[in-house]
Symmetry: C2
Subunit: 201 residues, 2 copies
């Protein structure tokens, strides 16, 4: 015996969500059907609407239901700085950290030739066109500190170097509040090589 076909299909559909296995899917389906049908109905409607309407910002490629996102249209940002990130989630993390007041460009991934993901797939033609427009003095390459993120940063650096913009990359080092004992060797040796003068006052 199992649940009815439609309930089983609901459980199966819920498994598209990341980190949701069969047991969690069952718990979610039961919760929605037994205790929160209104919430479930709302979720179905919003999900459908978001998938239909949310696209990429024409200017920075972040996720938005507008032509151009709020951050790109904001008059209070510094047009001379452009921060390149792999995902909207990375962009949000940088915004929440505070301090950066420039613009963004979202790749939605990184170069991955084995998966057939080339420069156009992550919008690098559009990025280059944006730099060619002029007005940007520094491009901060904030792709992830992973092999793929590094490779993507190097590719972009090579592509943009003819345009004469300053290129930078986020600093590597030990994370704040971490304990050296638990920092991986790669990070630790990077932090050693990048050590900074210290004034003990």
């Amino acid at each position: 015996m199992s649940f009815s076909p439609l309930v089983e299909r609901l459980m199966e559909s819920l498994r598209v969500l990341p980190g949701v296995g069969p047991k969690t899917a069952q718990r979610m389906a039961m919760h929605l059907l037994e205790r929160d049908r209104d919430g479930g109905r709302r979720l179905a409607a919003v999900l459908e609407q978001a998938i239909d309407q949310v696209g990429y910002c024409r200017r920075c490629r972040t996720l938005t239901e507008e032509e151009v996102c709020a951050l790109c249209t904001s008059a209070r940002r510094d047009d001379s700085l452009l921060c390149v990130v792999e995902s909207p989630a990375d962009q949000l993390a940088i915004e929440e950290a505070g301090g950066y007041r420039g613009r963004y460009f979202v790749l939605h991934g990184h170069l991955s030739p084995l998966d057939g993901i080339g420069p156009e797939d992550i919008g690098l033609d559009q990025l280059e066109a944006r730099i060619a427009e002029g007005g940007i003095s520094e491009v901060i390459l904030a792709t992830n500190p992973t092999v793929e993120g590094e490779a993507t940063a190097h590719y972009i650096a090579a592509q943009l170097s003819p345009h004469g913009v300053t290129l930078s990359r986020l600093a590597y080092g030990v994370p704040m509040g971490g304990e050296l004992e638990y920092v991986d060797g790669g990070t630790l040796s990077r932090a050693f090589n990048g050590r900074l003068p210290f004034r003990g006052d």
Copy 2:
């Protein structure tokens, strides 16, 4: 800064799912919008359909999109046994354990006067009517071994006793494969009081 209004609404809507907090909701929304729009669209459609069409079986009250569920219509079940459970998930657990071949009755909850959940809310009038039809010799009260489940079992027992059916309750005791050291005191003393003769062969 945050995501666009529609993306934020999607994240908020995903939080109706049990165990999904803000971080998980963000991860789910990003996954659906960035990597699996087809799966998300399917989820939205199936969720809407399930919420509209899945109701209670007219006979046993389990979740089903049919008038009467497959288990109630099956000719291969024993009509003289009726097992009363709190939820469809409990029913499935008993079915998966195997061995029981009778029918079910699903309460969708337990008596909870403080929350305003009385006998009619968990279908006890319908249960009594079903017993009154005759043909059932034993009712197995498989409500949860919790305070509320016990109270509900006692209430049902009192309600059904005039009908002259045998009433039973699942055995209490130490779980198979468990270690006594980790069994709680209440369960252990129940298991002691309910100890069974043992033939050492």
